[in-house]
Symmetry: C2
Subunit: 255 residues, 2 copies
Amino acid sequence: MAGTDHTRGALRPTGPRIVLVEPQLPENIGATARAMLNCGLTDLALVKPRDRWPNDKAVAMSSGATAVLDGAGLFGSTEAAVADLQQIYAATARPRDLTKRVVTPRQAGQEIRQAVAAGQRVGVLFGPERSGLTNDDMVLAKTVITVPLNPSYASLNLAQAVLLVAYEWFQAGDDTPPESLIMNGSEPATMTELGNLLARVEAELDQAGFFRNEDIRPSIARNLRNLFHRLALTEQEVRTLHGVLSSLISTRHKR
Amino acid sequence: MAGTDHTRGALRPTGPRIVLVEPQLPENIGATARAMLNCGLTDLALVKPRDRWPNDKAVAMSSGATAVLDGAGLFGSTEAAVADLQQIYAATARPRDLTKRVVTPRQAGQEIRQAVAAGQRVGVLFGPERSGLTNDDMVLAKTVITVPLNPSYASLNLAQAVLLVAYEWFQAGDDTPPESLIMNGSEPATMTELGNLLARVEAELDQAGFFRNEDIRPSIARNLRNLFHRLALTEQEVRTLHGVLSSLISTRHKR
């Protein structure tokens, strides 16, 4: 296809090449392109796709990731599709007849990240939907990637398999914190703001006769304070709760 | 659907419930069921699917994960689909108007694993394909799951989003080593077996006049030994290489 041969090798690769060997369904090629672009991968190679190529069904399933499809290389053999690469991974179930190093997608993502950062050209092979990679194709790979899955139902859809490898590649280079708090314009309330709200809540409850028994007052008040502190309220929410409180009090006064 | 209400709550949950809110394409419901079963999840809830349910297109795309589809609960509102649950996550882009805790799928997988192991009933909400979850649905969730992705193309297919959450759930409880060597019946060769092979290679090369210069012999021999040791050969492969060597020698003797 246009733009493949002269860009390869000339440009420093930014990610691994995804090589689909004899893919049967154009829909899966389109879904593969979408999953690749979701994870920042753009180098797609197709080895003898079953159906006509280019293919409208692939475009429809790619959901706008057409640049990946337009740039895809078309090859007559797996060897030709990986000829300029330096390290090959094969995504498949655990090999039965070959001695092979096997890694998880997470391990592969980290390894490929490092290799590409060091300037190496890396490819990952995926086999046909029905049968998977042949042993002859697997032999080309230094390492097999096998996804740990439910052993009684481990057959992944082709584009889903590509997604998991591409996802782990992306995560290996991503520094999003595992956990964060999105505030959307507001700030966390200060201890003073929370203390004022709680003092007001307690005073109003006192006036309303909520603490009927002075013995239980400390533990109930403590539980209420604990609940409010656990909430991690924003300034805005403290203001809203003051308004809620005022509204409830005014209703009581009207009665 | 059959078998949902009386199994929920009565049985200890084995994984989170996947809740698809107003899914548009039955194909995506089928692909979701397949991705769920790949990762050992079986509890699927559908809130007002656009198309008729049950649906043949969903069955076709489920690739045999029909038990998940057959057991799926059908609900008239998101609230009804999560009524018996204790912790809700919402899978969506970062919220814009709500103060919310946001985690990666990896963090969520670990948290949900722990919560389910402690006996809690957990659900994960996924919104309609085109629009995603509404703020009213997101409000039900304690935590938002946002997948770190290519910021210029971050829109995941619905079933792909379910796969990533389900995959991280499975990985959080899986103990597959990141890296292993599959031997398929053979054993790693011992140092003695490797040493014998290398001694034979060197002797034969010597006889063939390969080491023309005694000065370079040590470094060439060392590089050869290094190459063979790096291979991590199996016993079987050592035997094969002895055969290869014998064969090459016999050819030479015939010449």
